[in-house]
Symmetry: C2
Subunit: 274 residues, 2 copies
DNA sequence: CAAATAGTGTCTCTAAGACAATATCAC
DNA sequence: GTGATATTGTCTTAGAGACACTATTTG
């Protein structure tokens, strides 16, 4: 019986052809806009972090943050590391979206991408104040389905508008994958990655899983509802939303006062729903 | 302005450290058992294809079929290719399960695995009759949750029983990931991959998405229900199941006769439910 | 007081679970 | 006829949408 140790000593992976592996991250944040009236609650905007590429290929175009997998880390850790490097903020949560491995997806060669969606709370961004780099910006997201079955992804930052068009290809486990019809000026296949990440985020939010990560420890139910509405692009009656999330949250004794109307009780996420 | 062509010509990915990339596939099939009485409908068994490892590491232990990603193919194509090589059968569908990239998961070195669940119809296996290789066998699957939150995965083939114990780690997009407590004799981290694939398969079956792929073009509703019950490990009242899938199927004019009781109408999958 | 949100209660509608009842065939 | 499944229909219950109504604060 030959020993496993011996076998491994003589074994070399270098004999095989290997791809480069990256993790690309669609980092989402929800920004509370300014109040339009001293009475009204503020609106929300869903934002996505994009980096303007400084080098070839796709030089000058906008892309998702990402980078090569390093020895000794998992793909998920790589995604976390990349987003921390770019924002100096630790994401609250990170969710797998899919693997993108079309052979021609990157002109530099054989590079496969592991896509993640990550959620960053506005609170943490405010604290570290990482809005400095001109080559990293938060774009406002709009993602809608046309009546002909195409999907329109629009990303806006000041006077820059990226307008991608996609078609849903397949659906597995409730998640969709997309084929790019018009990349709208996004680098690589990142339009398809963003669409898949958004579709995954919506599915997660529909189960009230992802929405808490956008907010601080304690929050009003109205704020939580705005998050849900912003992600899902729907509107919900407050009374019904309240009932639906009631099993996921628990009351605190605190109230949010001074908003020009009746104070709202602050809630926190309940660890074990039921 | 420097040209992108120039840049790419001088660019070499070989400078970076790269992992080996594999696709591992949990191939599921549902086998119709023999009738216990000439009147009764037959029972079903959920089966998973395992390969006995001929070489180190984990020599002699059972593992999922899989192999290295080759240049020019996508990870999904690699998974399809591996399963076809092993069974000579083309899977009806293939579903992404997750990426497994713990640095120590493979003693041979830095190897990350893309896991897929694939569904193979009994019909296609019968046609090609690929039950020959002694090192490739279909194991009966049992996957249950203990009352202490652990999960028990039992795989059985003749006198071989593999008994793995796992703990749910996290849940994203309705899918769970698992930590291995006892691998039960399965190679690598394949116990965790199988558990994740089963959890994903159940989620998909719960939406009546995956269940049709186990069956031929036309089928009785009772057969469809047995598939659902086998995967989900539940039992459903026929009248209710019939109502729930009614929007996913359409009638044919054919009937299945000679079963010792009232003939059942054959149905086919409806392309666009509603 | 007015404007706005916070919060409660209730009606309706739909989908799923339970179950009763009938239909139809092979033996 | 008997034993089994096939098929239909109905009662009940749980949850989501709609909406009316009350409560509470700030300017």
């Amino acid at each position: 019986m030959d020993s496993e140790k011996e076998f491994l000593a003589g074994y070399s992976l270098a004999d095989y052809d290997r791809p480069s592996v990256t993790a690309d991250v669609a980092a989402f944040m929800i920004r509370t806009e300014d109040k339009t009236s001293y009475r009204k609650n503020p609106e929300n905007k869903l934002l996505l972090l994009l980096i303007r590429r400084g080098g070839h290929p796709y030089k000058g175009m906008w892309a998702l943050p990402g980078g090569f997998l390093q020895r000794g880390e998992t793909v998920e850790e790589c995604a976390l590391r990349e987003i921390e490097e770019e924002t100096t903020v630790k994401p609250v949560s990170i969710l797998p979206v899919g693997v993108f491995s079309q052979p021609e997806r990157d002109p530099r060669g054989w590079i496969i991408s592991n896509a993640y969606a990550s959620i960053i709370s506005e609170e943490s961004v405010r604290q570290t104040g990482c809005d400095d780099a001109a080559d990293a910006q938060w774009f406002a997201v709009s993602f809608t389905r046309g009546e002909d079955g195409t999907y329109h992804l629009t990303l806006t930052y000041e006077d820059i508008t990226l307008n991608a068009v996609l078609r849903a290809e397949s659906m597995h486990f409730g998640r969709m994958s997309f084929r790019i019809i018009d990349s709208g000026g996004l680098a690589f296949d990142h339009a398809a990655i963003i669409a898949a990440a958004l579709s995954a985020l919506r599915e997660e939010a529909g189960r009230y899983e992802a929405i808490f990560d956008f907010l601080p420890e304690t929050f009003t139910l109205a704020a939580l509802q705005k998050v849900q509405e912003t992600i899902m692009n729907v509107s919900i009656l407050p009374a019904n939303f309240r009932r639906m999330v009631s099993s996921y949250v628990e009351e605190t004794d605190e109230y949010l006062r001074g908003e020009g109307h009746r104070p709202a009780r602050l809630y926190r996420r309940k660890q074990s729903p039921e």
